[in-house]
Symmetry: C2
């Protein structure tokens, strides 16, 4: 049988990352346990060490993966939007919120935890890619200043963070399409204005 218990897992690194995200989603980052991840992946409690060093190393790898999925969520919205720069920027903002709502625990790992090592080469590259995408979108939409960038980033991030934490109950209780309409309205206020 292919699922026979073997001494060598074969793809343990990937299995541990999947188990870690599942644990994160179920128990939250504050109750995250390396041993629980190992148990879920069906290996001994010390197995993760060889692949990730320590618990923070595993969370660092998971965060890098998370930032790439974060960009994918934005790209998915952008693909559905009209190609003009303003619509693309709004779409990126909607994707930012989508990710936060669909994977709240991962979102919190990326933006609200200091357990990942952001000096790690892979993670810092993934995080910078996300930042660069934002800057490019704002710039294409006519943004020129630090205030233009920061305003758009802040409003998208604030909405994503508050919504995923369940604090913005007004918007959070809307059906999806209504929520999108309100969010689009809000993002539009921050678009760099053509002069």
């Amino acid at each position: 049988m292919s699922d026979e218990k073997r001494y060598h897992h074969g793809d343990l690194r990937r299995a541990l990352l999947e188990a870690a995200e599942a644990e994160l989603a179920e128990r939250g980052i504050e109750a995250f346990s390396l041993r629980a991840v190992a148990k879920r992946a069906g290996v001994s409690h010390a197995a993760p060490a060889h692949h990730f060093g320590d618990a923070n190393g595993l969370l660092t790898a998971l965060a890098a993966h998370g930032f790439r999925q974060f960009l994918e969520a934005q790209a998915a919205r952008e693909a559905k939007a009209t190609p003009d720069p303003s619509a693309q920027l709004v779409a990126a903002g909607l994707g930012y919120v989508d990710f936060a709502l669909q994977r709240p625990a991962l979102f919190r790992l990326l933006w609200g935890s200091n357990r990942p090592d952001f000096a790690d080469a892979d993670l810092s590259r993934a995080a910078e890619d996300a930042y660069r995408h934002l800057v490019e979108q704002v710039s294409a939409a006519g943004g020129r200043t630090v205030a233009d960038e920061s305003a758009m980033w802040a409003v998208a991030h604030g909405l994503a963070d508050l919504l995923s934490a369940g604090r913005l109950k007004a918007i959070g209780s809307f059906p999806d399409d209504t929520r999108d309409a309100v969010l689009t309205d809000i993002f539009s206020r921050f678009l760099p204005r053509p002069q």
Copy 2:
């Protein structure tokens, strides 16, 4: 001597809250340890239990205190601003960011942790007071819709969260008065427009 070691502390509850905030600031919420708090306050590791139940109980009480200080930070800015509603709203936003920059660990406890029990009566009241203040400010400045409220809250929250986490390096590296000017510019974009 007044600082003699007594069996009964006398004001242990307050001392533990202060020790907890200091520990939070020094080691971060992810390394928060109840025993370290007790040691810092000079009592045994089990002493906090009687006053707060468990570790989350202590963090709940600290969060309630934190929300009140959060409102004080906004009030401090409002007192220095002109009394017109728009200026008051911008001042509240600046106070929001002040608090996040001055007490980043506490800010994260309030907005990015699920360890505090938000069903706790004292904490939920303190958190609702903060929310009510925001709604009133937005309303006084002419805001009428859910989008008006959410936009202002989100931009203030996003700026505060990103700045306190050190992610908004552009603005974060500015001297205080320059930063205030940029933030004021950004907040002004979200002010409800007189129609």
